[in-house]
């Protein structure tokens, strides 16, 4: 029994990171139409900044803040300076453009911080308690709790606030939204900032809980996209559930010895199945936006 609990908890922690990543992607995609492949690279830059500030001897909270700030700055930079010229292009072209941004960030981050072995330690790693003989650190609680809260908060934000309403309007029809006087630039910038902050936060937790390596964090975007696909790139709730399920399934498969080496396939298999299921009624592609 204990062993299952341990795997479950480990899976929930990783799964909530996928979920957090997926939520950040979906928020941005809904408001701006961009599926941001650079999300992982932004997270990687934020994680490295966090490590750097801790290494320079800054207090924890300063480092965490710098990390999240890095995410916001990078994300908003793309949103303000590069995204507008792509606003009317097809979604796939927008996504490919973010690949370019991802490569730039990854190249710079790998250049600045060479391949030395580093580890990111947050003070919350040392604090923990026991649940069914399993030790759970506060960092894991934060990862899980924050993804839950963020998912809830974002849903409420989009439902209840005016900016949220405007974001949903933008997602529905950009041209009409502009016509009825929605401040597109402002709303989009908020979305980029929010998504960037989430990327920064996710990157920091990923660097602590999983591994502090720019390349690995950059390509964490792939399972995060899988989680987002579970939510059809639209639903925050389903993205959240998808991310958690992928994380837990991945961890539990470790127990099945023959399947263990292939367990990371879960995210991709799930994503492909969801896409197929979504398209089940469609026979042809007649110039839809996607």
């Amino acid at each position: 029994m204990k062993i299952y609990a341990i795997f479950m908890i480990s899976g929930l922690a990783v799964g909530s990171l996928y979920a957090l990543g997926g939520i950040g992607l979906v928020v941005l995609r809904r408001a701006t139409g961009f599926l941001n492949f650079a999300y992982g690279a932004i997270a990687a830059a934020s994680a490295m900044i966090c490590w750097q500030f801790i290494d320079w001897g800054f207090a924890g909270p300063v480092s965490w803040l710098m990390s999240i700030l890095t995410g916001v700055i990078l994300s908003v930079f793309f949103g303000r300076y590069l995204a507008p010229s792509l606003a009317w292009r097809e979604p796939v072209v927008k996504a490919v453009a973010t690949l370019g941004f991802a490569l730039i960030i990854l190249g710079l981050v790998s250049f600045i911080w060479d391949d030395a072995a580093r580890k990111l330690v947050l003070p919350t790693d040392k604090i923990g308690f026991r649940l069914m003989e399993v030790r759970i650190t506060v960092t894991r609680i934060i990862a899980f709790g924050s993804s839950l809260l963020i998912a809830l908060g974002t849903i409420l934000y989009l439902e209840k606030t005016r900016t949220g309403l405007q974001m949903r309007a933008l997602a529905n029809n950009r041209a009409h939204s502009a016509l009825i006087g929605i401040p597109i630039l402002k709303v989009e910038t908020i979305a980029w900032a929010l998504s960037g902050a989430l990327a920064g936060f996710t990157g920091m937790l990923f660097g602590d809980l999983v591994r502090l390596d720019p390349t690995i964090i950059t390509f964490m975007v792939i399972p995060a996209i899988a989680a987002a696909i579970c939510g059809r790139l639209e639903s925050l709730f389903l993205t959240f559930i998808g991310g958690l399920s992928i994380g837990v399934a991945e961890a539990m498969l470790t127990l099945v010895k023959t399947a263990a080496p292939f367990r990371s396939l879960v995210a991709f298999v799930v994503a492909v199945l969801v896409i197929l299921w979504m398209q089940r009624k469609q026979r042809l592609v007649f110039q839809t936006e996607d």
Partner: protein, 328 residues
């Protein structure tokens, strides 16, 4: 066809032939051994990049799993090498055909999709193969279906006429040229016309009696075939393959560089192969951190997406055209 355009067509063909002749005859002789190896890789990836270019330019489809398919081709090539004593060419052909078949199966779900969701499916496939490769490894002469031995690798045979590195570079260039010609012939023929109609509008293409599913599958299969040939050639060039060479990130990078090079033209694929393998090697050689090449590639991709949809090849050709006009 009037005389001038015929002449232009012909001179273009001669230019292409001249380019290939220089590559085959002169280059392998004048360059150092390391550059023979680097160029061999670049040439091999050119063919795979041409597959990406074909899908993007003909059908507007984003393929983010090409390097994974190269890995599949390489895996089958190594597996055949250790399993049967057949000539290199036959193994290469079988690897390419099986890879094309796998590419086709992967394309089946894509039949009802285009744009973003298709790109995502291919990305998921690339991610999946990354896991599979590192779980099963590449054959190195061991027993069993997977053929992995816990020891030093066995001997990967090269073609009898191309045992040395320079000969193998020439051999690869010729195979790649044949591959590009095969694809170009498709482009000019019936499939090319069908693809053009599908790209404009699937509904119209269907109304005009084009079998949309068939021709879409055809394009994927062809692209997979080119990736399979690349993988087989790569196995022969390196003699051992490693899972580390085929992660999803590399598929993304090769796609990006294909766009940068310019889709729809063989020169674009050549530029993509050059950027993918030669530029990092040059950086390495002159002591610049190869990570910085990523920064340049990323910027070039953004530039290509935003302002130069035909890539470097397109810019070069319009440069030549405007020069030609000035000379008149």
């Amino acid at each position: 066809m009037d005389v001038i355009s015929h002449f232009r067509q012909e001179s273009r063909t001669y230019a292409a032939l001249g380019f290939v002749a220089i590559c085959v005859i002169v280059l392998p002789v004048v360059i150092d051994s390391i550059w023979v190896k680097v160029l061999t890789s670049a040439v091999i990836f050119t063919l795979a990049a041409y597959g990406i270019s074909l899908l993007y330019s003909q059908l507007g489809l984003v393929n983010l799993s090409q390097v994974a398919l190269i890995g599949v081709g390489g895996w089958i090539m190594l597996r055949l090498n250790y399993a049967v004593q057949l000539p290199f060419e036959l193994n290469l052909l079988v690897s390419a055909v099986i890879t094309a078949f796998i590419g086709m199966i992967l394309a089946l779900p894509a039949m009802r999709m285009k744009g973003l969701y298709l790109a995502l499916i291919t990305l998921m496939v690339a991610g999946g193969f990354q896991i599979i490769f590192s779980a099963i490894q590449f054959p190195n002469g061991g027993a069993g279906f997977l053929g992995v031995a816990l020891q030093s690798p066995g001997e990967m045979r090269r073609p009898l006429i191309a045992e040395s590195d320079t000969a193998y570079l020439r051999y690869s260039i010729i195979v790649v040229v044949l591959g590009v010609m095969l694809a170009a012939a498709h482009n000019r023929g019936r499939p090319g016309r069908a693809w053009a109609m599908i790209r404009k509008s699937e509904a119209n293409a269907m109304a005009a009696g084009v079998n949309v599913t068939l021709y879409k599958l055809w394009c994927f299969t062809l692209s997979g075939f080119l990736a399979g040939v690349s993988g087989g050639l790569l196995a022969g060039a390196l003699k051992i393959l490693d899972a580390k060479s085929f992660p999803a990130g590399e598929s993304i990078l090769l796609f990006a560089l294909s766009i940068v090079g310019g889709v729809g033209h063989w020169m674009g694929a050549v530029i993509a192969g050059f950027l993918y393998r030669v530029v990092p090697a040059i950086f390495n050689n002159i002591g610049i951190d190869a990570d910085l090449s990523l920064v340049i590639f990323g910027a070039a991709l953004l530039h290509a997406i935003m302002t130069a949809p035909n890539g470097i090849a397109g810019q070069l050709s319009s440069l030549f055209q405007s020069l030609g006009r000035q000379n008149k």
